[in-house]
Amino acid sequence: MSTPGGSVLSVHEVYKSFGDEQVLRGVSIEVPEHSVTVLIGASGSGKSTLLRCVNLLTPVDDGVIRLDGWDITDPEVDPDDVRRKVGMVFQSFNLFPHLTVLDNITLAPRKVHNMAKETAEAEGRALLERFGLADKATQYPDRLSGGQQQRVAIVRSLAVSPRLMLMDEVTSALDPVLVNDVLSTVRDLKGEGMTMVIATHEMGFAEQVGDEVCFLSSGTIVERAAPTQLLHDPQDRRTQDFLRRVHEAGRL
């Protein structure tokens, strides 16, 4: 139950059911500072639920989640305090369509972190500049391509300087060219030392950015290892089956 030194995120024996369906059955992960943990597995294996549990969007049925050693599953904890420290990027972007790109990005810094409008906008513009989106600041999200929207969404969650970033299949709604835009953005973040937990179907990407890859099946982590090890020499039969099916699908 103790938190090993240096872990930003520590998930211990987490259980979650929706009705009769057990989605998570005793999942544990440790994410050290500046490291990236990648979750892979078939749809419905519990990847997204695990991320939602960490962000307290979904309450856990059992188990403990710690952020920098702080038990965030304690009922006395204010979920807003947790979410201020954790950034989340969604599969379907979830940008606010009624706000410009810059307003999307500065909303939380201004309203949640009480930053002055000028400061927030200057920092927002700097972030957009860094991710090659400077010319989109005054546009509305619906006018951007999917890849640009997702990169704006990443910038939006970066704008509050989170301790941890959660990415939930952030490229699943994008075409291969746009996927690369987004993935290189995530690689940049990794290069800057951002601690992340990423659920993805992109095996090549998992190998590039992951420090550890966890394979989930029916709500448990079946196998975990360094990316090269897990993706090229999986030990568990279920992992082997899954990766074989992924490769077969890639050939079609």
């Binding site: 929706f18 059955r25 419905g44 639920t49 049925d61 059992d62 403990v64 599953t73």
Partner: protein, 287 residues
């Protein structure tokens, strides 16, 4: 720690958390109950002990007199209910037609769009009472053959005309609130623009405007009383007749309570329906 399928024994930590949550829930309930009793109790005491309370009670809350006038007021209320039901059906049809015409883009419908806009401007802008007087007294004065001179029918027609304009605007805002990508998806499946409206846009748009539509419905129920100016005896008019006989205002209170008995459950029912349909759609199930 592995468990057989479907069973999971909660850990000590989870049991502790459940205990904490139960304690928090109990505390919230206790605070809510205590604060309600204190506030409501204070209000009751304040009203009942105020100097004029006895006079107020005999003038507005005479229970025996209330029982005596109840049948007459209730008979009037039945008219309000009947008018509301008939009118709401007609208003729905007319309002929906107006909203569809106003949101359509077909070039052939251009003159109708113009007419619909003019209609809404006119009937939303003129006071309901004025429309009722104009139609209720004005139309019979024309002496047209075959035209009814029933004030109930003419009064209802006036209300339908006015409320259709309100409802059309509410429905139009609902239709416009549905994201264009929804229409694009439906059209790409080969649905015609009419089918897109019927099966994709309207179901989403109407659900969003159910609360304001409910407002209009409750408001309609109350405004059916306005046709009493044409000499029709509804609940309000019946109460007025009674109280002008005795100079006691209990009949008005009786009418007010009857209206509340109708409108409050209706609102709660709509709320529940709305919550259920939102929850069904947003259920976070699976990974």
């Amino acid at each position: 720690m592995s468990q057989p399928e479907g069973t999971h024994t909660p850990s000590a930590e989870e049991l502790r958390r459940r205990a904490v949550r139960a304690r928090q829930a109990r505390r919230r309930t206790t605070i809510a109950v205590v604060s309600s009793v204190l506030v409501i109790g204070a209000l009751v005491v304040l009203v009942v002990t105020s100097p004029g309370w006895d006079v107020v009670r005999s003038t507005f809350f005479d229970v025996d007199y209330a029982g005596e006038v109840l049948p007459a007021v209730f008979a009037g209320l039945l008219l309000n209910i009947r008018l509301t039901i008939v009118a709401s059906v007609l208003i729905s049809i007319l309002g929906l037609m107006l909203a569809m015409v106003r949101t359509s883009r077909a070039p052939a419908l251009a003159p109708f769009r113009l007419l619909a806009t003019g209609y809404v401007d006119l009937f939303r802008g003129v006071p309901t009472l004025l429309v009722i007087l104009l139609i209720g007294f004005g139309v019979p004065a024309l002496g047209l053959s075959g035209m009814t001179s029933s004030v109930v029918i003419l009064g209802t027609a006036a209300i339908v005309l006015t409320y259709s304009a309100y409802v059309a605007e509410v429905l139009r805002s609902g239709i416009l609130s549905v994201h264009p990508s929804q229409s694009a998806a439906a059209r790409s499946l080969g649905l015609t623009s009419g089918q897109t409206l019927r099966y994709v846009v309207l179901p989403q748009g109407v659900r969003r405007v159910i609360p304001p539509l409910m407002n209009d419905f409750v408001s309609l129920l109350k405004d059916t009383g306005l046709i009493s100016v044409l000499g029709v005896v509804d609940a309000i008019r019946a109460a007025q007749i009674e109280s002008s006989r005795t100079f006691n205002y209990t009949p008005y209170v009786v009418a007010a309570i009857l209206f509340l008995i109708l409108t409050i459950p209706l609102t709660r029912l709509t709320d529940r329906f709305l919550h259920r349909s939102i929850e069904r759609q947003n259920a976070q199930v699976g990974a």
